[in-house]
């Protein structure tokens, strides 16, 4: 036994849809967490397992077809292998798709890593008439080969045994056979390898043959990482150019392609040796299902029904637990009010902390249900069909077919919607989709529309609200095109996507996926949201107003003791006046007054300005702030007649034109704090600030154009 006491670090590499994550789940069970790879928003799952006295750490690398570092996922996987030097790599292979899988295997072999080959989904391959000679494969690739069926948890112990055996046998390091590219190319590679070996500037390059191939492929990232110093370049570049010229002249093709073709040639050779296949229509049932789901006429209705179901489940069914959470939070607040001595600390605990925690967990039901739906779509294979159906219309906006789901969910709540952009492979699609999602008017903005449209547009309220939603969509379409041409320009990553066979999702993987999202939300975002909520609460609470214009407390006590018939109303209105004065005196209130010069040109009064600032907490707060500022108390909602009457009061200067500009502003301006933090989590701080500032400017300009333009043509 060698290194028995050491921790073993094992990375999992494999194609997307090879069942790599299922294998990872089987290996580690619940002992896993999700982090990001350093500096990028590519997810890294890490899990632990104790097996036969070894502490094993598993790292699930992003699913890739290759390791050429053209895409972020590939670069991340490759960098991990180079920098972190895992002891072993489990190469998870879809047994039914040997050719594409082995293409990645050859690249792993060339990097000189210790491989354990995992032939996963073995049962599907057998059903499809594929036989693989695993012993022969093991001999040819000089690596242990294990058969597994992750969905049924079969073969996992054998896989672990193979890893531990390879680790402890002491026969590791450099055992992979060299990949043959055909005799002519092999000679060139061997020749160049000798030069690399002798080159003094090849710092840390432990595998000269791999380096030689990278030089021929023109992989600048790898060569510049290892070839340091002018000498090294001078020494090798002559030889490299000579080799490239030779390849070009003899094959009349780009050397990069010659190498790729050579690699496929090698893979084809292995497959000829180890695989037998009888002709069975492998995807028969899957194809029949597919005929229905992507049918020319029925495809879209089925798609829309499924989307409708997920949307309704997320937001309608999610509403019940949300109410329970809200009721629980307010019950807890009532209890705390009754047991804590009155004062700043009690207010902070009740409104700041408990209120803040409430604002974090209230989104949980949405997130849990939406990700239940998404994992069902992904694991069953329907997600890629949905992308197949929606790619054409989404492409029009410069987006990917899969972007449809986050955008649709944005109508419910931007928080789970932005989190769901993770399903997109390309970073650029993720950024663009995340930036456009807030323009899908979320349900929290609806009360504001209902209030203003109801108060100023009477029977046309419905159409007015509809026009706001349409405006949001149109804005996203236009911005999608504009962003794609400007800040997110560059070569498109091609939309080439695997359409995996339909499969039954397993309960285990769906649950793990759901739990993972919940955990990310609570651990990565919960804390920040809590702190932000407390800060916002404090801004609305401080500075305390000690002396009021009128002695409300005394007047309230006086009213309570009186025998007037309208005593309750008097007390309520006194309390409301006091609340209004407190809010006006607070930092938020002062900020509202301070921004008056900015909102006057778009027709808003200071109350509207302040309520927009409070809308930063959550958009629906705009309505209750209006209630407070118009001295009607905080328990006001969008259907309150007294608030509608107060808004309509001509003295307040709100015309239908102003009301419309206000609704547009609410649609377009900076999303709520939780959405902003979700944006930061998914696409980083820089884009978060971009979204905040851009949307604020956009909202202001739109309201300005509507208000001033409307006045010019004589409206309002």
């Amino acid at each position: 036994m060698v290194d028995a006491a050491h921790e073993i670090k094992i990375a999992l590499a494999g194609n997307p849809n090879s069942g790599k994550t299922s294998i990872f789940n089987c290996l580690t069970g619940a002992h896993q967490r999700v982090a990001n790879f350093p500096g990028v928003t590519v997810e890294k799952r890490i899990g632990h397992k104790k097996y036969k006295g070894h502490d094993i750490t598993f790292i699930d690398l992003p699913g890739t077809y290759s390791l050429t570092a053209y895409s972020l996922d590939e670069k991340v996987a490759r960098d991990f292998i180079i920098n972190e030097k895992p002891d072993l790599i489990i190469n998870v292979i879809d047994s039914g798709n040997l050719e594409r899988s082995l293409y990645l295997t050859t690249q792993l072999m060339e990097m000189g890593v210790n491989l354990v080959i995992d032939l996963n989904m073995w049962d599907e391959a057998v059903e499809n008439g594929i036989e693989i000679d695993t012993e022969k494969m093991s001999l040819l690739l000089r690596a242990p080969v294990v058969k597994t069926i992750a969905n049924r948890n079969q073969g996992i112990d054998k896989l672990l045994d193979a890893c531990v055996d390879l680790y402890t046998c002491g026969c590791r390091d450099g055992i992979s056979p060299p990949i043959s590219y055909g005799s002519q190319l092999d000679d060139i590679v061997t020749g160049l390898t000798h030069h690399v070996k002798r080159c003094p500037g090849c710092r840390g390059c432990h595998n000269p043959r791999w380096m030689a191939i990278k030089l021929l492929e023109g992989d600048k990232e790898i060569t510049s990482r290892y070839l340091t110093g002018k000498e090294a370049y001078d020494m090798l570049s002559g030889k490299v150019n000579e080799s490239l010229k030779h390849i070009k002249s003899t094959t009349e093709q780009d050397p990069e392609i010659v190498i790729t073709e050579g690699r496929y040639g090698y893979v084809a050779g292995i497959i000829r040796e180890v695989m037998r296949r009888s002709e069975i229509d492998r995807m028969k049932i899957s194809n029949q299902v597919d005929q229905l789901l992507t049918h020319k006429i029925l495809g879209y209705p089925i798609f829309l029904i499924l989307m409708w179901l997920i949307f309704q489940a997320t937001f309608r069914i999610g509403e019940y637990p949300m109410h329970w959470i809200e009721a629980g939070v307010s019950a807890l607040q009532d209890i705390m009010v009754s047991i804590l001595p009155k004062g700043i600390w009690a207010d902070m605990i009740v409104d700041g902390i408990i209120g803040g925690v409430g604002s974090v967990i209230v989104f949980l039901p949405n997130i849990v249900i939406l990700f239940l739906g998404i994992s069902l779509l992904e694991d069953s294979g329907y997600m890629s069909r949905a992308a197949f159906l929606m790619d054409r219309p989404m492409h029009f906006m410069g987006l990917h077919g899969k972007s449809f789901i986050p955008l649709l969910m944005g109508f419910g709540c931007a928080v789970p919607a932005i989190m769901s952009t993770r399903t997109l492979e390309s970073q650029r699609d993720r950024i663009l989709t995340t930036l456009l999602t807030p323009f899908m008017s979320c349900s929290a903005r609806l009360p504001v529309y209902i209030l203003f449209a109801g108060a100023f547009f009477g029977i046309h309220a419905g159409n007015v609200i509809f026009s706001i939603y349409l405006l949001g969509i149109a804005t996203a379409v236009v911005l999608g095109k504009v962003f794609k041409k400007t800040i997110l320009s560059g070569e498109d990553i091609p939309f080439v996507m695997e359409l995996p066979p339909y499969r039954w999702p397993t309960v285990r993987s769906v649950l793990i996926h759901m739990w993972e999202r919940t955990q990310i939300y609570l651990r990565k975002m919960g804390g920040v949201i809590l702190i932000a909520s407390i800060i916002l609460w404090a801004l609305g609470y401080f500075p305390r107003k000690e002396t009021f214009d009128v002695d409300y407390d005394a007047m309230i006590i006086q009213a309570e003791q009186s025998a007037l018939p309208d005593k309750d109303e008097t007390i309520a209105s006194l309390k409301a006046e006091q609340a209004s004065e407190i809010l006006g005196y607070s930092y938020i209130g002062r900020l509202g007054s301070a921004i008056e010069p900015f909102v006057t040109p778009i027709g808003f009064n200071w109350q509207m300005g302040v309520s927009l600032i409070t809308g930063f907490v959550a958009k629906e707060v705009v309505v209750s702030s209006m209630g407070v500022l118009y001295q009607l108390g905080a328990d006001i909602d969008e259907k309150s007649n007294s608030l509608i009457a107060a808004l309509q009061d001509p003295e307040k200067g709100i015309t239908p034109l102003v009301a419309y500009a206000f609704m547009v502003f609410v649609l377009l301006y900076t999303p709520c704090i939780v959405s902003i933090l979700a944006i930061r989590r998914e696409i980083g701080m820089r884009w978060m600030w971009f979204a905040v500032v851009f949307q604020l400017i956009l909202a202001w300009l739109a309201a300005f154009i509507i208000y001033q333009g409307g006045r010019l043509i004589g409206l309002g």
């Binding site: 293409y103 496929y264 992507t294 049918h295 159906l389 492409h395 939309f495």
Partner: protein, 80 residues
């Protein structure tokens, strides 16, 4: 064997042998990495209801590809 055409010109059900993959950089790389190398036989399955993208099959899997990218893959139609 017929005239060389691009992948997008195959009719549903028709097969073709890949002759060459055009384009540059990331696009060509990606097509190769997914298994569209010369000599591979591909079959056109269908177009999406809005005509784009296309579903093709080769090796042992199905792939969705936009017409603009399919136009980079040149094939010789195979008659069976």
């Amino acid at each position: 064997m017929g005239e060389t055409m691009n992948l997008g010109q195959l009719k549903p059900g028709q097969k073709g042998r890949v002759i060459r993959v055009g384009g540059y950089g990331a696009i060509r790389r990606r097509l190769y990495d997914l298994g569209l190398h010369s000599g591979e036989t591909v079959q056109m399955i269908k177009a999406a209801p809005l005509k784009d993208p296309l579903e093709i099959s080769f090796g042992n899997g199905h792939i969705s590809i936009r017409r603009s990218e399919a136009a980079l893959v040149f094939v010789d139609p195979v008659t069976e």
